[in-house]
Assembly symmetry: C2
Homo-oligomer: 300 residues x 2
DNA sequence: TATACTGATAGATAATATCTATCATTTGGA
DNA sequence: TCCAAATGATAGATATTATCTATCAGTATA
């Protein structure tokens, strides 16, 4: 049985005339007659009673034709589902971002993404790096925005930008009065860190290593905002990604975000997607829009 | 697009392995791979992202596979509908009967029909002859039981039985005391008739013509039961089909059903069906069962 | 009686599904 | 590190099916 046979049967039901039904299906009358006969043989039941006056649908033929109509409608629906997906700059795009990037990057770029890719329905998912990678591999997510390095295996890595860190200190800290700090300045610093699982923790630890093993507190924060509050309470200092730094310094701000001298410590932010994905066109469009929308404080 | 391609896609979704999916579909792996590729080309969207580690369904692939599953289930349903119709002694059979036959014939034969054809679901429809013939031609009814003659055109006419009439008279009528009556006895009789549309009316009129123009009242009854009541009220007499005559005469019965002498006036009862119908086997089975179940008071 | 119309059949052709053989790439085990 | 196994893809050949045109048989109409 195939869909063409069902189309022929529905056409015969509607036209009650083999020649007209064949014309409606864009085939010859013997083709339609033969295919209909084949369908009847396969189903083991007569669907159409023919004579030279009028084609009569049997009871079976009417019920089967009704069911065939249903099936053909569902097939049309399947094609519509595919059509929706076929335009890579249309349809759904599931983006995963790590929590130290998402809330600070998106406000800069969402408006531009909506303008540049109006037919794309962007779904945002925020998880830590390991979870993101697993869901990407499973196909639940289409593309990730995260900080390198990670174990990407055969995934495609597409650089986005390089983001410098600033030193976040309590406003009464002596370092807050410097125009810029060096890694040496944090050699003996009490640094606050994110909890295990956040790659930012590893990045900050890498910077500490470069600075000569700065002292680290045992208290861990679950988010950058929690870190921020702890710094404001004078519990220690931390490295803050540039996009997480407020653009306007308020008069009673508890925290000073002091830049480093060059070469500043930075983290690489990249998009990652599966090598076999055919939506590379969409991913590159998203990457270009993000780069064009970033403030000049981050590098390419 | 065809149903096999949908089966292949669903199999790949379930197995996440081209070789296993191909085996499940009883085709070779290159066949499945090629057909899936053809489907993707036709739909214009990638459904499956392949690599040598694990097959990943794209978002489009998952949605299309879900829809394909739905379609394949509906196709199964269509085959079940056909299967139900394929056994001619099973499934539904729509029988049309005229009102002067149905209520009097069916009590004699329904039990036997149920025993003889247990898988047949008999639907009964009661209309006058013209309506029955139209619905038969339109395919709404499969077979008719009616009295001849009718304009059957190219329909198949299959004799069932010949049903004699009795003379129904009020019990105080002098004719009620005769063992049998002749057509001459009703020559001056006041005969009651069914209304227009009932072929029994025409049959009774034919008998009157044979008897020599018996007088006829202008009042018409809509059913045999109404006729019966009118006879009981002494309004006149009528011809009653044999099967409409109660088998037991009650002591206070108002009506006497007096038989005619031979050759008795009769009507031919037949089954009628469309020449092209392929359920002749079922119709003949029904006819045989009816004939075997009739009381001996009717002829073949 | 002849022509037109209907659906069916036959043989030829076009299109498609499926096969086997083999390829390219990746992975795992020795 | 090398070789074999496993994966999905491609190529060419074959089998199967869909469709064509020509024509048939039966019916209806002018």
């Amino acid at each position: 049985m195939n869909l063409r046979e069902l189309q022929y049967l529905v056409a015969v039901d509607e036209h009650r005339h083999f020649h007209k039904a064949a014309a409606a299906c864009f085939v010859s009358q013997p083709t339609l007659s033969g295919q209909l006969k084949k369908l009847e043989q396969e189903l083991g039941v007569q669907l159409v009673e023919r004579n030279t006056r009028q084609v009569v649908m049997s009871a079976a033929g009417r019920e089967v034709a009704d069911q065939a109509r249903l099936i053909l409608a569902e097939v049309k629906m399947l094609k519509e589902i595919a059509q929706q997906h076929a335009n890579p700059l249309a349809g759904s795009l599931h983006i995963g971002l790590i929590p130290t990037i998402g809330p600070y990057l998106l406000p800069h770029v969402m408006a531009a993404l909506r303008r540049a890719l109006p037919e794309l329905k962007i779904w945002l998912h925020e998880y830590q790096t390991a979870v993101l990678l697993e869901r990407l591999r499973q196909g639940e997510l289409d593309v990730l925005v995260l900080a390198l390095p990670v174990e990407t295996g055969d995934l495609v890595v597409h650089d986005l930008y390089r983001e410098p860190f600033r030193l976040a200190v309590e406003r009464n800290d002596p370092l807050s009065r410097q125009a810029a700090v060096t890694l040496g300045d944090i050699q003996d610093a009490n640094l606050l860190l994110l909890e295990e699982g956040h790659c930012l923790r590893d990045h900050v630890l890498d910077v500490c290593l470069a600075a000569g093993a700065g002292r680290k507190t045992d208290f861990h924060a679950s988010s950058l905002e929690t870190l921020r509050h702890m710094v404001g309470e004078g519990m220690g200092m931390t490295l803050m990604p540039e996009l997480a730094v407020p653009e306007k310094v308020r008069r009673n701000e508890l925290i000073r975000y002091v830049p480093f001298v060059e070469p500043k410590p930075t983290r690489r932010v990249a998009m990652v997607w599966r090598k076999n994905s055919h939506r590379q066109q969409a991913f590159e469009a998203v990457a270009n829009t993000i780069r064009e929308s970033l403030p000049v404080r981050v590098y390419f």
